[in-house]
Amino acid sequence: MLEFRNVTASIGIIEILRDLNFRIEPAETLALIGRNGAGKTTLLRTVMGFTKVRGDILFDGKPLTSVAPPKRPGLGIGYSPEDRRLFSAFTVEENILLPADAARLGAAETKRRLDKVYDILPELKEMAGRPAGNVSGGQGKMVALARALMLGKRLVMLDEPFQGLAPALALRYADALRALRDSDRSITLIITESNPSLLRGFASRTLVIERGEVSEGSLDPERKSA
């Protein structure tokens, strides 16, 4: 469903990712791990179109590079950035709804999806009317996650979604995501995470990024050094 062919991604004049080759099948859940600064975030941003790319990225077999960045979420790609990036001029709920507005989903469909998001992240319901600029660090991550789920019918990319969440909450979200994946086999998840225990038994595959290059790996601590 998503395939990288000889992809080199750079920011400015600096190459961050070099010659990546891998593919992800539908319904896979991919864990992306690596040291700080390895390039995990960059890889996700590359899919969103925020880096300069050489090589081909195929989405459902079609080249993604020819799709303008703002059109990509419309393909069913949801993205939750590492640094939250909420719109503080809007409330929490408006933030979650904005992607639907941008995609002109229509009232009924929007409502359906919003309800689904609230099912997964019930804590957000209480905060729905609060200005997004004022929520705490962890709450902000939750909103960003919710926003990504609004459009992510095909591919959901979560950059450290559990970072800053209290463990109890993180565990619950991991469960909810697992349930989501199990309920809808057309969704592919890519998650970067620094806490492997949360993904264990949930990610179907693990990719390790090191110095801008990927290799297959595993979340089990013993086998990690692969």
Binding site: Y79, F90, A102
Partner: protein, 301 residues
């Protein structure tokens, strides 16, 4: 100060404020959304005025009735927005959004310089005057004070309509929301599927149309000559800063304060009339450092 004088000053202030507001509105919009202080706004204003005068002159010479001047104002404004505003955003500004703000400012400054000469090449150096729109509407007498309908009623009405319309548009329509989101974070907006390029182009064109409209509406009451844009731009800057960043309601109040301040100063203390915009700005910012309606942006820590 008797009632007549008071009313005169009031009317002067209101009609002037309405005009200033319309021009400042476009500037606020562009600044609010794109964070670009568009110096070329002054030229767009001037060209809107020139275009109106030329078009009106042309059509009146063909024998059209003077009321025809009103649709021509709209036509000129749209022409300015589409023919000038569009290319400025599309060809110039778009290329430097990732560059420091001061560069964006200077691009518009350079465009301003170029357009100043363009005006002179196209329309020459002699002032133009075309008041048929003003005359077409005649005068009203209120409490014994005679004033032109155009300045006392039409301009404020247009200003209020724009104020309400634009506020409604930004707050209650989907496009408005998308614009506001883009304002805050261009990249995040793109990542949720908002076409920031289109939003910016649209905003800039609308802003430019408003500048042109300001010029078109000003044309019946002022003479159109080289350099008219430069003065207007400084005044609009003062309105924008006094109002607070991108604050449309604030801009209306700031324009009103400046308009009334100026007209009453002429009666009370004519010497400071020129200083009014700056004094108001300094005083307002002294009390409210973020402008009338601005709110401090706290950094998330």
């Amino acid at each position: 100060m008797n009632l007549t004088i008071f009313l005169l000053a009031l009317f002067d202030g209101i009609s002037y404020a309405a005009l200033v507001f319309i021009v400042a509105l476009g500037l606020t919009l562009i600044f609010g959304v794109m964070r670009i202080l568009n110096v070329a706004h002054g030229s767009l204003y001037a060209i809107g005025a020139y275009a109106t005068v030329s078009l009106t002159g042309f059509f009146l010479a063909l024998g059209f009735a003077p009321v025809f001047a009103f649709p021509l104002m709209l036509v000129s404004a749209v022409l300015v927005g589409v023919l000038l505003g569009g290319p400025i955003e599309w060809l110039l500004l778009r290329r430097i959004y990732d560059k420091p703000e001061v560069l964006q400012l200077l691009v518009t400054f350079a465009v301003f310089m170029i357009l100043e000469d363009v005006q002179r090449l196209v329309w020459g150096t002699q002032p133009y005057f075309q008041a048929s729109a003003l005359q077409a509407l005649g005068n009203v007498t209120i409490f014994g004070v005679t004033y032109t309908v155009y300045q006392l009623i039409l301009l404020p009405l247009v200003a209020i309509a724009l104020l309400i319309g634009l506020r409604f548009f930004l707050r209650h329509t989907v496009i408005g929301k998308l614009i506001l989101a883009t304002t805050e974070d261009r990249e995040a907006a793109q990542s949720i599927g908002i076409d920031a390029d289109r939003v910016f182009l649209f905003t800039f064109v609308v802003g430019a149309v408003l500048a042109g409209l300001g010029g078109a509406l000003a044309s019946p009451t002022t003479s159109i000559l080289p350099g008219m844009g430069a003065d207007m731009i400084v005044l609009s800057f003062a309105v924008v800063a006094t109002a607070g960043l991108g604050q449309i309601g604030g801009a209306a109040i700031a324009a009103l304060m400046i308009g009334l301040g100026r007209s009453f100063a002429v009666y009370v203390w004519p010497e400071v009339a020129v200083l009014v915009p700056y004094l108001i700005m300094v005083l307002v910012l002294l009390v409210r450092p973020e402008g009338l309606f601005g709110s401090p942006v706290a950094r998330k820590i």
